[in-house]
């Protein structure tokens, strides 16, 4: 059971962390290390892309919530996209989806980001 992590740049100084495989007690430290290396005060938005993830345990959840906490603390955005049903179920069990920016797919997230950018422009 392994975890693949791919980090790519997003618009407006964001980072996308795409994870595939199993995020569990053995692989959670790998994701934590990647986040520690890549996410800092200068990152405005972190997107976790769960598309290839088929297993998530509480050890993995803790890493996800730690990243969210860091982004919240920096005033940045934390977004989650492409959660498979069994992954979404884990978040639902611990009643953690309220207050999270969760999008079923890329199109839904793009729509949200475009609306956010329009809002910013209106305020300029």
């Amino acid at each position: 059971m392994s975890l693949d992590i791919v980090i790519t740049p997003e618009a407006n100084n964001g980072k996308r962390i795409s994870i595939a495989g199993s995020l569990d007690s053995n692989t959670a430290p790998e994701l934590q290390q990647s986040i520690d290396n890549e996410i800092n005060d200068s990152v405005n938005a972190t997107v976790i892309d769960f598309k290839g993830l088929d297993f998530l345990s509480s050890a993995g959840l803790r890493v996800i919530f730690k990243a969210k906490k860091m982004m919240d603390g920096n005033g940045g955005k934390f977004l989650m996209v492409n959660l498979q049903p069994q992954i979404k179920k884990v978040f639902e069990i611990i009643k953690a989806l309220d207050g999270m920016n969760v999008f079923k797919d890329q199109a839904e997230m793009d729509e949200y980001l475009t609306a956010m950018q329009d809002k910013v422009k209106e305020g300029e």
Binding site: D24, S25, N26, S57, S58, L61, R62, Q86
Partner: protein, 145 residues
């Protein structure tokens, strides 16, 4: 051999987190053998991981050198999972977060909440020098058996 014995499979693991992948492989083979539905498999995989990590992390003074035995038994739409170890007395049910909705999710305590949510019964017993933790889950059998 009675029916329950026929449907029981066991694995003995080291009390090291790395062995959780062996437990996942063991479960994967078990569900294939007994045609356990995919959604039940997903739940069981999470339950086994959370329970094993809890016991391996807290029932021993140190990692390694001790064992945890896991028995899976499946009868009439019900799966029973029993974890047995000879660590210090440790009841995983006492290791839950106080309030899952308001607690800091960066901290521990989520595992036992997940275990309780995905199983129908949980029972801990201290038997002699052993911890015996049994979980039971009902499932609907697949029609194509």
């Amino acid at each position: 051999m009675d029916r329950q014995m026929q449907n029981t499979r066991s694995i003995t693991l080291r009390n090291e987190l790395a062995d959780s992948s062996k437990l996942a492989d063991f479960l994967s083979n078990y569900v294939k053998t007994y045609k356990i539905p995919g959604d039940t498999y997903n739940d069981l995989r999470l339950v086994l991981e959370e329970t094993f990590v809890n016991i391996a992390s807290y029932a021993f003074d140190k990692h390694g050198g001790q064992t945890i035995t896991v028995d899976l038994t499946n009868t009439a739409g019900e799966i029973s999972i029993t974890f047995t170890d000879t660590g210090i007395a440790f009841n995983p049910l006492n290791h839950a977060a106080d309030n899952i909705e308001t607690d800091d999710h960066c901290e521990g305590g989520m595992g036992i909440h997940i275990i309780r949510s995905l199983t129908d019964r949980q029972q801990y017993d201290r038997v002699g020098q052993s911890n015996v933790f049994t979980l039971t889950k009902h499932y609907t059998k697949q029609n194509n058996e």
